[in-house]
Structures are given as C-alpha cells and as structure tokens.
Symmetry: C2
Subunit: 402 residues, 2 copies
C-alpha cells in the first residue's frame, strides 16, 4: 500500500516530537508500505521568520516572503530525515521544487497546477521513505511559491492524488472527527467514516480539523483521507465519497460557529431590486453572505438580515452605508452576540423529519431560533450565543444519546 502522511508544525516542533513522528513513519514503512511524508515548518518557525522580515520591511513583496518562508519546511524535512537515518532507515528529503510541485504565479497563495511524480516514483522504487516539504512549490518562472493557509494539507492531498496513493493520512492534535466538540459535549463520539460533503460542511461550520481546500481536492481526485492523532495511536476518521454510515445514521455531526455576526438593514425601501442591491453591495466588497431573511415591516419597508463572518461585519456596514442613497434604508444594526448551530449529515437526503427533531430539541430547551437555513445535507440555525453550548448538547442527545 502507498500512504501519504502529513504532520503539522506542532507535531515536529522539537527533537522529542520529531522522534515521536519518526516512530509513526517507521512503523508504517516497516509494515511493508511505501510512505511519502509531508511536513510543515517547525512550531513557531514561520512566525519567527515573519518577525525578522517585519523588522526589515513591514511590507515586503510576496515573492521574497515566499523565498524566506519556504526555508521553514526545508529545515523540517532535513531534520526528520536525519532522525530516520539515525534509526537506520532509508530516507530522502525533497523540496517542492525537487518533487515537481508546479503552481501558478500567485505568490503567497499559489494554486497547484500539477505534480511531476518522476522523482517521487524513482525514490519510492529505491525503497526509501520520501519526505516532502509541504506548503511550497515552484511556478513557471522557477520561483518559489507558497500555497497559503492549509497549504501542507493541500500538498499531501495533491501528492496522494498524483501518486494514486491508497490513503492520505492527516495527523493533527485531535483523534478524528466527532459528532460534536468532545471538549463541550461529553457524549460526543468519534466518527469512523464521513463523506467529503459532510466534512466540507462541518469544516466551514467551524470544526477546524481540515481546511476545505484540501477536502475539495481530495473529493475531486477521489483521495481517501484519514484524520488522526499524532499523539494517540488509534484509528482516526476516514473521509471518503460514500460513508458506510449514510443509511444507518441520520446525521453525522453537530458544529457550532460563534465567529459570526448578524447584520440587519432596517427599513429597506420596498421596491423591485432592493434585496439585490443590498447583497450586491456586500458581495462587491468581497464579503461572503451566509443566511438571509427578509421580514415584513411597517410603512412599505422591510427589514433584511444576513449573517457574515464576525471579522467582516464592519466592512459590510461600510459597504452598505456608502450606497445608502441608492439602496434606500433607514439604518444598519449589527449583532455579534449570536451563534450558528449546524447539523450535518449526508443521510438527510434520504430521510425526513431531521429538521423537526432539531427544532424539537431547541424547543425543549426554550431556545429561540432567529434564522434557519437548510441544504441537502445541512440544517443551520442562528440562536443567541449564550445558548450555543446548551443547544449543541440538546441536539446531540436527541440524535445520538437515545
């Protein structure tokens, strides 16, 4: 079997952790598997490099920032290679350039164009463990580029796709994907399997286990992912096209996102195109709008509310106020004291009554639902922030603990 394993910065932060990870890699290799390992920069390395840069130039070019930052992952792979050498194992480390990871020219947040697997295959054929610097590639100018947030996960998935790996294991500091946040919901269960779509919904809902970008890439190329812990030796959660839970379990997980805000545009003029003008003003400012409701108001005007990321709330207000005359509204109010609870499950598609169970759970707890949004595999409710943990626990009991 061919495995791609990915370890993040905290997993290789010091000599002791490097040794721990080397043990995981060695185990997989000594079982007779081919192993390709993607590593991030050690612990605080990237932040330290950014500080050094800021001291010299507060606004450096992204090209030179990438030139600086790519050294972090290169150091990680060299150190890990030395550790595996010390255990007597055959190993070789390769940078983004050496591994043929070609990107577009967007320094700082490059997209992967292709992976030339020739060198990778040659090293695997020599029965070596191959360590690859994550987060980095080279563009058509032969310049170094970085892949932006979640870049090392994306590297791992891209290599797994290019090599047709049997599985891409993403090692993190959690043991897998849970039905709810296990620190908050004592009855939360680790899921054995989950679909790409469910993972995408959970990730975008604030369950920060995997970045959406790498899950999307995995879905596109059919790469089977596994999320597992680098500290606890236990099977994690597999992310794949069809999960065997689909028919059995109505929902997969419950996520909570408190970093949201509700923006209410009060007394929008009741004329054709008002809603379009409101949303257009916001989206032109580059802000994603999530849920939208329009409430009937007095005097031929409606209130219109939508949900944005908390960090985008001010920008959304500014964008609207700049066009107040053209749109026609009285004023804007912002409520950051809300939370979005999302119930996710591919099983919803072939089942009914999920929504009413969710509402029943919230009703039992006397929690008021401010906004509702549904998709084929998700139901989201906006409630007041103070009730969020209680809401998750109530829904979890309704679906998983009866």
């Amino acid at each position: 079997m061919l495995f791609v394993q990915k370890f993040g910065g905290s997993s290789v932060a010091n000599a002791e952790r490097i040794r721990n990870v080397a043990g995981i890699i060695a185990e997989k290799f000594l079982e007779g598997n081919e192993v390709v390992v993607v590593l991030s920069a050690q612990g605080d390395t990237t932040d330290e490099l950014l500080e050094k840069a800021a001291e010299i130039n507060p606004d450096p070019s992204k090209r030179e920032l990438d030139m600086l930052l790519t050294t972090g992952e290169q150091q990680s792979i060299a150190l890990m290679a030395m550790c595996l050498e010390g255990m007597g194992l055959p190993v070789v480390s390769l940078t983004g350039w050496q591994v043929g990871l070609r990107t577009d020219a967007s320094y700082g947040a490059a997209r992967i164009r292709r992976v030339d697997t020739e060198r990778l295959r040659r090293e695997l054929d020599k029965k070596r463990i191959v360590l690859v610097a994550g987060f980095q590639g080279v563009n058509k100018f032969d310049d170094y580029t970085t892949l932006g947030r979640g870049g090392s996960d994306t590297t791992a998935v891209a290599l797994a796709a290019a090599l047709h790996a049997d599985r891409c294991q993403i090692f993190t500091d959690v043991e897998g994907v849970y039905t709810a946040d296990p620190r908050k919901v004592p009855g939360a269960r680790k899921l054995e399997e989950i679909t790409y779509d469910e993972m995408l919904e959970l990730a975008s809902m604030g369950a920060q286990v995997l970045m959406n970008r790498s899950v999307q890439l995995a879905r596109r190329y059919g790469v089977e992912l596994e999320v597992l812990s680098s500290l606890v030796r236990a099977p994690g959660t597999k992310v794949k096209e069809v999960s065997k839970n689909m028919e059995e379990m109505k929902i997969t997980g419950i996520a909570k996102d408190e970093k949201v805000a509700r923006v209410t545009v009060v007394q929008v003029a009741d004329r054709p195109g008002s809603a379009f003008r409101v949303l257009n003003a916001v989206s032109r400012a580059g802000i994603n709008v999530d849920m939208i409701i329009q409430a009937n108001g007095r005097d031929g005007a409606n209130d219109m509310s939508f949900v944005v990321a908390e960090t985008d709330a001010e920008a959304a207000c500014r964008a609207l106020e700049e066009r107040q005359a053209a749109i026609g509204f009285d004023h804007i109010s912002v409520d950051k004291d809300i939370a979005k609870i999302s119930v996710v499950g591919a099983g919803m598609m072939s089942s009914v009554g999920i929504a009413s169970l969710v509402f029943e759970a919230l009703n039992d707890e006397h929690i008021n639902i401010q906004m509702i949004n549904t998709s084929e595999i998700k139901i989201s409710c906006v409630i007041d922030a103070a009730s969020a943990d209680r809401a998750v626990a109530a829904i979890h009991r309704k679906f998983f603990e009866q």
Copy 2:
C-alpha cells in the same frame, strides 16, 4: 561595469547590518553599475542549525546536512531583498539552483562544475540587483550541495568568472591585505594591490583574509578581486595577475602561522628510500607536509624533521608508528611550540638578497632559525613560538620602516 559583491555572515547578522550592506549595494547600483551580490547565512544561523541537527542525529548524512544548511543563505537573500525593496530598488533573490550553479556530487564540500548564466543575465537585463545565495549549488541528481569552507567567496568568484564581471569585491571585517597583521605590527600598511600568487602564499601562511580556493579560481579565470571592509568605506586591496608594486617593493607582506607542529623522526635508518618511505607514510594518511630537513646523525642514521598543521601531528605520528618496522627508526618527537614566519613577494623573483635581509633581521633579535624553506615568491622560517611576534616586527622594520 558589472560588479559581483560578496558579504559574509557577520555583515548580515541582524537588521541593522543588513541595512548597512543594502546601502553599499544601493550605492554601487545607483552609480549605474550592474550588481550581483552573494550572501552568506546570517551570523550564527549555520551553527544553530548544526546544533539542531546534532540534537537529533550526531552523525547525519552530508546530503541531509546540506538540505538543512542551504536554508541559511536562502533566508539571507530574502531578507536583503526585502530591505532593498523597502528602499524602492528593483531586486530579485536567487538560490543556488535558480542561478544554475551546478556542482559535483560531493555533499558538504562540492566543487563547482559550471554556472548557467541565463537566468542571471535575464534578471540583470531587467535592471535588477541580483542577490544570490552563497555556499550552495545543485548536483546532477538535482540535490542541494554546499561548497564547504569559504564557499560563499568561491560562489562570488565563480559568478564573476561566468559573467565576465569587471570586479569581484569580497567584503570582510578588515580593510584589505596588510604588509603584516595590523593588530600586532603598528607600522603595518594596507596594500593597494597584490598578485594572486602573493595572496595565495599569504593566505596559506595564516593571513585568513581569503580562502586559497577562491583565489585560485580567480587566478584561473582572471577575475580581478578586491578585498575591502563592509564597515569602513575605503578602497581595499586589489588582487590581480600583475601588481604594480612588483618592481617597486621587494616584498609584499609578512605572515605568521602558529598552528603548525614539527615532527622529528629520530634515527631513521640510513639506507636508500628511507626519506621516501617516511614521507609516503604521512601523505598516504592524507596529511600535507610543508618543510623538510634531514640532519646527519650518529651510527649511520639521520634525524628527519618536517612541518605539518598542528591538528595533523597526532595522525602523522600514528601513520609512521604503524610502519616503524618497514621504515626503520628509533622514535618520534613532536614540537608544537613553534611558529612559521613567511615573507612573501612576487618581487623576489627579480631581486636578490631578500633572504639575507630576513636572516639579518632575525639575527639582530637573537632569534634562532630552526628550518628554512624558499620558493620563487616566499621565504619561510620556523622559529620558536615565543619569538614569533618579535620576529614579524623585526622583519617588517627591515623592509617597510627604514
């Protein structure tokens, strides 16, 4: 004019020093020159990386060490590029791979095979300052290699040769090459010019301004070198084929090397080939022998003495003792309490009486000469270590201060 400038690790050790060096680069560029700059890793970076490696594996492969160490220079060029960007100057940084510096496969101490100047020329044609990571290249396997000690100087000379640069400026913490160590000899004078051969003799004699390797490379390709200070803005010393001092000044400089040892093989059997067998045993152990004398002894046996680097003395003894029976000698004695004083000057070739002036100077100070060696441009004397500084001062007075 096309200049290649090289700055060592201490010249770029922190933000302040990077700014200082950026000023030197900017000045040369704004005068209308093409400028290629070679940088070493910042201050202690290399040592810190070696420490990290040692913590994980005390004996890592040279390939992975090179993978680790090459990140140091890459960080330097990125930071310097950011600094020059901040000054509004056009600049691009390039690693050894990007600059097409191809080496042989000897990790840790690779030799340069060739430099593909295509990318360099393209960037220079765009009127950019080009920053190049020193000390590093890539071999035929597309693996990173380092050039060993003095590697960044060698990178600079190699780029200057490949680009047919008008001058290669090596910036150091001294202002140039002096007639003697200015910290020890108050009357020491900075030389305006010096020949490659003189520089080579001085360097090998312990005047650690330039590594021999880079001077040899410069001589082979006729690259005009200049050694100058990164802290004091003043002309340095030019190193070239023919110096204008050749006819005027009989000698160029006086160097002292205290890191030498005299090995004496006592009572070597007086039969044909004994001297060969002694020297062969030592050279087979990879040890360079410098000066050799044979003294007539008693009983049909001679004492034979030679000078080696202090660090090689023990190995030389072991090599000889292993073959004691075959060679035939009584025992070996080692004296580390010696110094080698060398008087260097291309003018010696066309002049007479230099040697007698040197001997006169030492005689005036009642310093005993243990061994003597001469070449076309050098006279070396071995004396006791305690008299070394006094000897240099006396010779300096005789040639430069009368």
